[in-house]
């Protein structure tokens, strides 16, 4: 039943994220029906249209904010509604409470990452009268997921440290923007493309042709593992913080 609790407490945020992402995907395909190719770029490939409207530009930051907000919730957030005592009196350890919440959230992040991969190749022929490669969509999905789990971990940590509803959400909005400014202003950090989430998720380091904007280089599997380890460490740190907390 802890799974049920974790789902009930995150489902509004999850459904909201799914809705935002679905609207973005469907609108790009719907707009392509009449507006693709644009008159000024009659030779523009549909893959570039998809990249510009989903995988590139500010959408990566929108995605990061959405998954960070998915990481919110938990015991600190139960404080203001007064249910912490009830939850902590259940015969389950704090580690288990957090583990269930983290697993539920990570599954939601994975679903959200691969939502374009489910929608765009399937609906493009119907809505845009275009085709989009499933393997491309899956590869972009992997890139989104890799940084998505890290962003989730950050949101998860914020929610262990700050009780306020507003504080956590504000931090989730501000953190990626501040991080992006920090990365773009540091030449040392720019040497590592994986550090720049927007660059990494949009697949730029793995795309040869700026015209087609398709991933045609090998994906960084070692980086995926490192990002997964970072996410795990952030969640473990949240668990450590929560174990020490008084409620």
């Amino acid at each position: 039943m802890l799974w049920y609790k974790a789902w009930r407490e995150s489902r509004v945020r999850f459904l909201l994220s799914i809705s935002v992402w679905t609207v973005l995907c469907v609108s790009l395909m719907y707009r392509a029906r009449t507006g693709f190719p644009p008159p000024e770029r009659p030779d523009l490939p549909y893959s570039a249209w998809v990249w510009a409207n989903i995988y590139g530009n500010m959408n990566t930051t929108v995605f990061i904010i959405l998954v960070m907000i998915l990481g919110l919730g938990g015991l600190r957030r139960e404080g203001p509604v007064g249910t912490t005592s009830f939850t902590l009196s259940l015969p389950v350890t704090r580690n288990r409470l957090l583990g269930v919440r983290a697993t539920t959230g990570l599954l939601q992040v994975i679903l959200l990452s691969f939502l374009p991969a489910m929608l765009i190749p399937t609906l493009s022929p119907l809505l845009a009268r275009q085709n989009y490669s499933e393997s491309q969509a899956l590869q972009f999905g992997l890139l989104f997921m890799a940084w998505g789990v890290v962003a989730f971990g950050v949101g998860f940590l914020w929610s262990s440290l700050f009780a306020g509803e507003f504080t956590g959400t504000a931090l989730c909005v501000i953190s990626p923007l501040v991080y992006r400014i920090l990365i773009s202003s540091s030449s040392a950090l720019q040497r590592y493309p994986a550090f720049n989430y927007a660059n990494f998720m949009s697949g730029l380091p793995y795309i040869q042709s700026p015209v087609k904007v398709l991933i045609d280089r090998t994906l960084p599997w070692a980086t995926f593992l490192i990002l997964a380890a970072v996410s795990t460490s952030l969640i473990a740190l949240s668990a450590r913080v929560t174990r020490q907390q008084d409620f």
Partner: protein, 303 residues
């Protein structure tokens, strides 16, 4: 004696920055009886209960709940399997319906009593399909009580259980506590409603400003505790009454009032020897005892 206490603490202390909510508390709660945990608002009752259940961590000292350490997360979790608890705020998940909340809680406990659940549902007239968030305060309290009472737990801990209940529901609650104790469940409930404690408790622990200031059975209070008032014809002699069996001494003009916790006869004899013109002895109610102790403590704090 180990094993006969469901709750046992040794110098349990809880500090919040510069404020000590609980100070070196040595508490023992026996199995199979109803223990009232009395204290004023902010006396440290809820802080003690939260430490016992692992909701907050002791700053120092230790304790056991059903024989397992409260400072060890795994042991504390194991003891919570056998403890039913009603928190002070009685909040449960607002987004669930009453039925979902019952199903959710039931899933954690092997000792859930379905018959008792049905009986309490009927008795409390809880609307099964209504969301918890729209229930009245009284209904939320009843739901929290149902979730705790619909089990065959070894220990029932209730923090201000009657708060928000109407008189009929309070009566039903008190009867439920007596019934639970009759079936072998130890009941430990905090309250500042002295009349409720006096009605159902076998034993009472009084906490004030984080310290345990009284620990006695109700029978002991009825039999041994006496308020003895000595009237003197002249200024009362300046004699230190403090000693074995004397809870407090108060001088008011020519009258000296002694709260005796035992040895009342010896104290009366002492007063006679000192030349008391009149001696008035009265049994002490829990209310009088509580007020006497708490007022005494407040005076000490002011000095």
């Amino acid at each position: 004696m180990m094993g006969s206490y469901v709750i046992e603490t040794q110098d349990l202390t809880k500090r919040y920055r510069n404020f000590e909510a609980v100070r070196s508390l040595n508490l023992r709660v026996g199995a199979g009886r109803i223990t009232g945990f009395l204290g004023r608002n902010g006396a440290g009752k809820s802080s003690t209960i939260k430490m016992l259940l692992g909701i907050s961590r002791p700053s120092s000292g230790n304790g056991t709940l059903l024989g397992r350490s409260i400072d060890n997360a795994a042991q504390c979790c194991e003891s919570r399997r056998h403890v039913a608890y009603v928190a002070e705020d009685k909040q449960t998940y607002g987004y669930m319906t009453v039925a979902q909340m019952i199903a959710f809680t039931r899933s954690f406990y092997a000792d859930w009593n379905v018959d008792m659940e049905r009986r309490l549902l009927k008795q409390f007239a809880l609307p099964l399909h209504r969301k918890v968030r729209v229930l009245s305060k009284g209904m939320r309290t009843k739901l929290a009580l149902l979730l705790a009472l619909a089990r065959r737990s070894r220990l029932l801990i209730l923090d201000e259980p009657s708060e928000g209940l109407d008189p009929v529901s309070i009566e039903e609650l008190l009867q439920a506590l007596v019934a639970a104790a009759a079936e072998g469940t130890a009941v430990f409930f905090s309250s500042h409603q002295i009349a409720e404690v006096e009605r159902v408790a076998d034993h009472v622990c009084i906490i004030d400003r984080g310290c345990l200031v009284a620990d006695a059975s109700l029978d002991q209070i009825r039999q041994d505790y006496r308020r003895i008032t000595f009237g003197f014809a002249t200024e009362p002699p300046r004699v230190d009454f403090a000693g074995e069996g004397i809870g407090s001494v108060r001088t008011d003009g020519r009258q000296v009032t002694v709260m005796a916790t035992r040895n009342a006869d010896t104290i009366i004899e002492r007063g006679q020897r000192l030349g008391a013109a009149s001696i008035d002895t009265n049994p002490v109610s829990l209310r009088e005892l509580f007020l006497d102790i708490v007022k005494e403590e407040s005076r000490d704090a002011l000095v």
